[in-house]
């Protein structure tokens, strides 16, 4: 049951990810990216991380994709649509990608450390209370730093996108 759902979500996310990279129209890429995040959040649910799944949908599908579509509508993408995209145009990058992917697959598949099927221990898995205690006790400083970074990004985005006063 779990394996079937995982294969379904994995196939959907890989196909939509390929669509993101291969689509010529950036609007199609953005919509495919949104369709890619939904099965990934389903995989998070399978991994007993329901909080992360909800955060994934809220932040990525709700906020980041709206930003992307906003900017795509603000700027003119007609030139990019008519431009041909050839995947073989950049040979060194292609060779690098094949090496990278082959290396990762060979290393993962040849190692026996990744063959565990059951979790080593299921004491705290999926426990949101435990998660929030860890986040706000042990990782309070990084949490606050992240909020400061978000504030800086907010102000910076406004300053960058503002028209120059002439």
């Amino acid at each position: 049951m779990d394996q079937g759902f995982f294969l379904l979500f994995a196939a959907a996310s890989v196909i939509t990810a390929l669509t993101v990279v291969l689509a010529r129209n950036p609007v199609h890429s953005a919509l495919a990216l949104m369709a890619c995040f939904l099965p990934i959040s389903g995989i998070f649910v399978l991994l007993e991380a329901p909080f992360l799944a909800v955060i994934q949908i809220f932040v990525y599908v709700g906020a980041i994709m709206v930003l992307f579509l906003f900017v795509i509508m603000m700027i003119d993408v007609r030139e990019a649509v008519f431009q041909r995209f050839l995947p073989g145009g950049n040979l060194p990058a292609l060779v690098l990608l094949v090496l990278l992917g082959g290396e990762m697959l060979v290393l993962v598949l040849s190692s026996d450390r990744f063959s565990v099927t059951e979790p080593v221990a299921t004491r705290t898995a999926g426990d949101i209370r435990q998660l929030s205690t860890t986040l706000f006790a042990d990782y309070l400083l990084p949490f606050e730093v992240a909020s400061v970074i978000l504030l800086a990004a907010l102000v910076g985005a406004i300053v960058l996108a503002r028209k120059e006063p002439k």
């Binding site: 993101v20 991994l47 028209k163």
Partner: protein
């Protein structure tokens, strides 16, 4: 149950697809979206390892990655709007201001 290496292989495949988008596409918008794909594949690995070794730090770091991604996208799209306003191009090869 799902074996751990399935999740790792899924993360690796998504990472390679995202890296292909960053390296091969010449459209800045698609490059940014491919960056999102890269960060998501890393998140899958974090959460998978966190679950199989019963460590909540995987989920914590995935939360931080998502927060930093939101900040990064806001800044990058702000830069993109300013760039299009000044140079009216979306191709990465045309933006060579720092080349000297």
């Amino acid at each position: 149950m799902v074996p751990l290496w399935w999740q790792i292989v899924l993360g690796a495949v998504l990472f390679v697809i995202g890296a292909a988008g960053v390296l091969l596409r010449r459209n800045i918008l698609v490059v940014l979206m491919s960056l999102e794909l890269l960060l998501n594949s890393v998140n899958i690995n974090f959460i998978a390892f966190g679950r199989y070794y019963d460590d909540l730090r995987g989920q914590i770091f995935a939360i931080f990655v998502i927060a930093i991604t939101a900040a990064e996208v806001a800044i990058a799209l702000g830069i993109l709007v300013a760039l299009v306003r000044n140079k009216s191009t979306l191709k990465v090869d045309d933006v060579t201001l720092m080349k000297g």
